[in-house]
C-alpha cells in the first residue's frame, strides 16, 4: 500500500504544478481579457470601463495574490465564474465533460472489442492471410489522421450514402436512437487509430509471450490451446497492451478537439477552444485543471491495474 500512497502524492503534486504553469502562462501572454471583453465591433473600449472591469474581476491585483485566491477557491471546488457570461465554470464543465468521456469510452470499447481478438488471432497464425491483411489495415489506419478519417466518413456515410447525419448532438434522454446515430461516426473515427495501435501491441506482445518457457510448460502439462491462449498468452500480453491503451486514452483527453470539431460534437475541447479565444481565464484554468486531474488519475488507475494484472508489481 505504501507505493499507492506514494503514487497519489506524486499525482497531486503533478496536478498542482500543471495548474500553476497554466495560471502563469495565460497571464504572461499579451492580451487583456477586460479590453477584449469590452471591445465590441472593433472599437477601442473606454479606459475607465476597462479599469472598472479589471477591478471587478480582480485583475488589478498582483499576480501572486490572484494565484493564491484562485488556488484557495479551487481547493473548495470553486473554479470561478466565466468572464464572458458569468456562469460558474464548474457547471459548464460538468455539462460538457460527460459528452467527451462518452466519446472516448465508446471508442475505447470498440477498439478493445475489435483489436484484442484480432491481435491474438494474427499472432496465433503469424504470417498467415489474416495476419497480413489485418497488419496492412492497421498500418493504413495509423497513417490516416483523425480529422482526415472523420472528414472522409462524413463524405461517404453522410453525404453519399446518407446513412447517418453529418454531425451534431442530441442528449440521450431526449432521443436515444438519434443520440446513438450521432455518436457512431465520431466514436468510430477515434476507434480507428486506437484499434490500430491496440492491434499492433496485442499482436507483438502475444508473439513475445508465446516464446516464453511457461507457454512450453503449459503445453507440457497438456493444457488445451484455447486455454493456453487466454490464461497464459493473453493474460501476460495484457500488461503492455494496457500500458499503450492508457497512454492513448490519456492523449485523447484533450485530443478529441478535432473529432468534436468535425462532427459538431459539443464536448469539453470545444469549450476550451472558445475559452482560450475569449481569454476567459477562469474557464481555461478550470478546464485544464480538470483535464490534468483526469490525466493523472488515469495514470494512477493504470498503475493500480498493473498491480492487479501482475503480482510481481505488488511487491514494490
Amino acid at each position: 500500500m505504501a507505493w499507492l500512497l506514494h503514487r497519489v502524492v506524486v499525482a497531486i503534486l503533478l496536478v498542482w504544478v500543471v495548474a500553476s504553469i497554466v495560471f502563469l502562462a495565460i497571464r504572461l501572454v499579451p492580451g487583456d481579457p477586460a479590453t477584449l471583453l469590452l471591445s465590441q465591433g472593433g472599437m477601442a473600449p473606454d479606459p475607465g470601463a476597462v479599469a472598472a472591469l479589471r477591478a471587478q474581476l480582480g485583475l488589478d491585483q498582483p499576480v501572486w495574490l490572484q494565484y493564491l485566491s484562485v488556488l484557495k477557491a479551487a481547493l473548495h471546488g470553486n473554479l470561478g465564474a466565466s468572464l464572458e457570461d458569468g456562469t460558474p465554470v464548474v457547471s459548464a464543465i460538468l455539462q460538457r465533460l460527460p459528452r467527451t468521456l462518452e466519446l472516448i469510452g465508446a471508442a475505447a470499447l470498440i477498439a478493445i472489442l475489435a483489436a484484442l481478438p484480432a491481435g491474438l488471432a494474427a499472432a496465433t497464425r503469424r504470417g498467415g492471410g489474416f495476419d497480413r491483411i489485418a497488419s496492412l489495415l492497421a498500418a493504413i489506419a495509423l497513417a490516416i489522421p483523425v480529422f482526415v478519417a472523420g472528414t472522409l466518413m462524413v463524405l461517404v456515410f453522410a453525404q453519399w450514402l446518407r446513412w447517418v447525419p453529418a454531425g451534431g448532438y442530441v442528449p440521450l434522454a431526449q432521443d436515444p436512437l438519434r443520440h446513438l446515430r450521432l455518436l457512431a461516426m465520431p466514436a468510430l473515427t477515434i476507434a480507428l487509430g486506437l484499434s490500430a495501435v491496440t492491434f499492433r501491441m496485442t499482436r507483438a506482445a502475444a508473439l513475445e509471450v508465446a516464446q516464453k518457457d511457461y507457454i512450453r510448460m503449459a503445453r507440457a502439462k497438456g493444457v488445451a490451446p484455447p486455454r493456453i491462449l487466454l490464461h497464459h498468452v493473453l493474460r501476460n500480453a495484457l500488461m503492455p497492451v494496457v500500458t499503450v491503451l492508457g497512454l492513448q486514452l490519456g492523449s485523447l483527453l484533450g485530443g478529441t478537439v478535432l473529432v468534436e470539431y468535425v462532427f459538431n460534437w459539443p464536448g469539453l475541447s470545444g469549450l476550451l477552444v472558445d475559452a482560450v479565444n475569449a481569454r476567459d481565464y477562469p474557464e481555461v484554468e478550470g478546464i485544464v485543471l480538470v483535464i490534468s486531474v483526469l490525466f493523472v488519475a488515469l495514470n494512477l488507475l493504470m498503475d493500480i491495474l498493473y498491480a492487479v494484472l501482475d503480482p510481481r508489481v505488488r511487491q514494490r
Binding site: 489522421p145 488445451a224 501476460n236 485530443g255 476550451l272 482560450v276 503480482p311
Partner: protein, 605 residues
C-alpha cells in the same frame, strides 16, 4: 539495411525530393486566384482541377506537402538537436543536471499533446512560426529520454571508464562514444516524431490554427474543401490521399529502422509444432519399454544442420536413464522430441519416438495433449521462467490436474495442496496461494515436480532439473526424485551434464556427443569401465571426492555446420589414431544393452 527497408526509404526520399524541388517544377502559382473558374474540373492547364477560389489544385497539393513536411521536419530537427544535447548533459553531469533536463520533461508529458499545442498556438497566435517551437517542445522529451537511456547504458561500460581514467574530457567522451551508440534509436525517434508532427501540424492547420492562408498546407486544404464537399468531393480526397501516403511512408520507414536497430523485434519465423507431422518413417513399436527413441534425426529449418543424428534410446518401466553430455550435444532436444514439443524451426528428419508403443511424432495435437502431462511429464531446467508469473502456484498445479481429470476447482485445489505437501513444501495451504516469484529456487523446482507427478505419469523427463540450484538444494531435489520414482514406479529420463549427480540415481546411462549417442550401457559398467574416450574424459573432468583435481577436456564441441570428418570427437580425443579422422565410426554393439561409437574400442578396452 534489409531489402524491405528500401521501399519506405525510397518513398520518403522521393517525398523529400518533391518537397525540395517544388519551386523548380513548372507549376502554376498555388495562390493565384481565378474566381471565374472556381471548382472547375480537369483541364489541360489544371490536371487536378481548380479549388473554390479557382487556384490550381495540383500546384497547391505539391506546395502543401512541401509546407507540411517542412514544418514537421524543421520542428523535429530542433527537438532532436536540443534533445540530444539535454540527454547527454542529463546523463553525464550528475543528479542535478538530470533533474533539470530529464525529469523536467515529465511535465511536458503530463499534457495531452494536442491540448498543449492548441493552448500554445491559441495564445501566441497561428502561423508556422508559432507551430514549429510548439511541435519541437512536444517531441523534445522523446529525444531526451532516448539519448539519456543510451548514455546510461554506455556510461557503465568499461571503455568509457577507461577513457575517463586516461583523462579524456567529458565532452570528448560524450561525442566519441555515446553518439554513435544512440544513433539508431535517435533515427527511429526522428522518423516517429516527424510523422507525428505532420499529423499534428495538419490537424492544427485544419482547425485554422496552423499554417495561415492563403499559403497551402494539406490540413488547411482539407478544411477548406469541407465546405464544397457536395459539389467537389475530389478536392477533399486529393489532400487526404497525399497526407495519408506521406504519413504511411514515414511510418513504414520508422518500422523498418526499428527492425534494423532492434534485432530483438524480429525473431525468425518458426513454423512451430504443426510441421512435426511431416512424412516420418514408421515401424512397429517394440513391446516392453515405456519410451523408445529410434534413430531420431532432427534438422534445423531446411538447412543441412542436424542437432540430433540417429539417436536411439530405451527406457524400461520404473527404470532411470541418465542422458549425459556437454551443452550442444542434443540431449535436451531429444527430451523435447519425446514430448513432441520441439521448438519452432526444428523438424524431425527421420526416426520415431514410441511412448508405451504409441508413435508420438505421428499423433495429432489433441492426442498428444492427452499424453503430455498425463502419461508423460517433464521438469524443465529453469523453474522461474517455466512457471507463469501471474498465476498462483496452486492454480498452476490445479490446471495440470484439470487438464486430465474431471475435477471441480475446489477438489483440484485440495489435490494441489496435497501434492505440494508430497514434494516437501512446508505450510502447503499457504504456499499454494503464493506466486512463483515469492518462492525460493528450490521450492519452485519442487512445484515443477509436483506439476509433473500430478497425473501419475509413467515417464518423467527431467531436463537439467538441478542445474539452476545450489549444491545442498540439488541433493534434496535428487533425493525427492529418487523417492518419487520408487514410490510411484515412474520411469525417469534424467538429462544432465553433471556426472556425479547421475552416478547415484541412474540405472542406465546414454552418453551423447555432438548430436550422436557415443556410448550406452548399465550405469555401473559405464562408470567403472567406459568404452568411449569421451565418456572417460567426462568422468575425468567431473569433480571428485578423493581430492585429485578434475581434468578438463581440451577444445570445444564442434559447431553444427562444421563437423569434422570421421569421428566427431577425434579433434579433442587423446587416443585418436589417423583412421579416426577419416571414417565415421559406427555404433558398435557389444551386447544388446551395451554400445560404443569408438573405432578403437577393442584396443583401448
Amino acid at each position: 539495411m534489409s531489402r524491405v527497408a528500401w521501399i519506405p526509404a525510397g518513398s520518403v526520399a522521393l517525398l523529400a525530393l518533391l518537397a525540395l524541388a517544388a519551386p523548380l517544377l513548372p507549376l502554376p502559382n498555388p495562390v493565384a486566384i481565378d474566381v471565374a473558374h472556381r471548382l472547375a474540373g480537369i483541364s489541360a492547364l489544371h490536371p487536378l482541377g481548380q479549388d473554390e477560389y479557382g487556384r490550381d489544385e495540383l500546384s497547391r497539393l505539391v506546395c502543401g506537402t512541401r509546407v507540411s513536411l517542412a514544418v514537421a521536419v524543421i520542428a523535429t530537427g530542433i527537438a532532436c538537436a536540443l534533445g540530444v544535447l539535454l540527454g547527454l548533459v542529463g546523463g553525464f553531469l550528475g543528479r542535478f543536471a538530470e533533474l533539470a533536463t530529464v525529469r523536467s520533461m515529465d511535465v511536458v508529458l503530463c499534457f495531452p499533446p494536442l491540448l498543449l499545442a492548441l493552448l500554445v498556438v491559441t495564445l501566441i497566435g497561428p502561423g508556422a512560426s508559432a507551430l514549429i517551437p510548439v511541435l519541437a517542445l512536444l517531441y523534445l522529451p522523446g529525444f531526451v529520454r532516448v539519448v539519456y537511456a543510451g548514455v546510461l547504458s554506455v556510461r557503465a561500460q568499461d571503455y568509457v571508464e577507461a577513457m575517463r581514467a586516461l583523462g579524456a574530457r567529458r565532452a570528448r567522451i560524450m561525442f566519441l562514444t555515446v553518439l554513435p551508440n544512440v544513433g539508431g534509436p535517435v533515427l527511429v525517434q526522428f522518423s516517429l516524431a516527424a510523422a507525428s508532427a505532420m499529423v499534428l501540424e495538419s490537424g492544427l492547420s485544419f482547425l485554422g490554427l496552423g499554417v495561415v492562408p492563403p499559403s497551402p498546407s494539406l490540413g488547411l486544404m482539407i478544411g477548406e474543401a469541407r465546405s464544397t464537399m457536395a459539389q467537389a468531393p475530389m478536392l477533399l480526397l486529393w489532400p487526404c490521399l497525399a497526407l495519408g501516403l506521406a504519413i504511411l511512408a514515414l511510418n513504414a520507414l520508422c518500422d523498418a529502422l526499428r527492425d534494423a536497430f532492434d534485432p530483438q523485434g524480429r525473431a525468425s519465423p518458426g513454423r512451430g509444432w504443426r510441421a512435426l507431422r511431416a512424412a516420418l518413417p514408421g515401424g512397429a513399436p517394440a513391446p516392453g519399454p515405456v519410451l523408445e527413441v529410434r534413430e531420431l534425426t532432427l534438422q534445423i529449418g531446411s538447412a543441412a544442420a542436424h542437432p540430433v543424428r540417429g539417436v536411439s534410446l530405451t527406457v524400461a518401466p520404473g527404470e532411470t536413464l541418465a542422458v549425459i553430455g556437454e551443452s550442444g550435444s542434443g540431449k535436451s532436444l531429444t527430451g523435447l522430441a519425446a514430448m513432441a514439443l520441439l521448438p519452432g524451426g526444428i523438424e524431425v528428419d527421420g526416426g520415431a519416438v514410441f511412448l508405451e508403443g504409441r508413435e508420438m511424432l505421428r499423433l495429432d495435437e489433441p492426442a498428444l495433449r492427452r499424453l503430455r502431462g498425463g502419461r508423460i511429464a517433464m521438469v524443465f531446467q529453469d523453474p522461474l521462467s517455466s512457471l507463469n508469473p501471474v498465476h498462483r502456484i496452486g492454480a498452476q498445479i490445479s490446471e495440470a490436474l484439470r487438464a486430465h481429470q474431471l475435477l471441480t476447482r475446489r477438489a483440484a485445489w485440495r489435490k494441489s495442496v496435497g501434492l505440494l505437501r508430497r514434494v516437501g513444501i512446508p505450510d502447503p495451504e499457504r504456499r499454494a496461494r503464493a506466486f512463483p516469484h515469492e518462492l525460493s529456487g528450490g521450492m519452485r523446482q519442487r512445484v515443477m515436480i509436483a506439476i509433473a507427478i500430478a497425473n501419475d505419469p509413467v515417464l518423467l523427463i527431467a531436463d537439467e532439473p538441478t542445474t539452476a540450484l545450489d549444491a545442498t538444494v540439488q541433493a534434496q531435489i535428487l533425493e525427492l526424485l529418487a523417492e518419487l520414482r520408487k514410490e510411484r514406479r515412474i520411469a525417469l529420463v534424467f538429462i544432465t551434464h553433471n556426472l556425479p549427480v547421475v552416478a547415484e540415481i541412474a540405472d542406465r546411462v546414454t552418453v551423447m556427443y555432438a548430436g550422436e549417442v557415443v556410448e550406452d550401457g548399465p550405469a555401473a559398467e559405464v562408470f567403472a569401465a567406459p568404452l568411449h574416450p569421451y565418456t572417460a574424459a567426462l568422468l575425468a573432468s567431473a569433480p571428485r571426492d578423493d581430492g585429485t583435481s578434475p581434468v578438463g577436456i581440451p577444445g570445444m564441441v564442434p559447431m553444427l555446420h562444421n563437423r569434422p570428418p570421421g569421428c566427431s570427437f577425434a579433434p579433442r580425443c587423446s587416443r585418436r589414431a589417423p583412421s579416426c579422422e577419416v571414417a565415421t565410426p559406427p555404433l558398435n554393439t557389444l551386447r544388446p544393452d551395451r554400445h560404443t561409437r569408438c573405432l578403437r574400442w577393442r584396443e583401448l578396452a
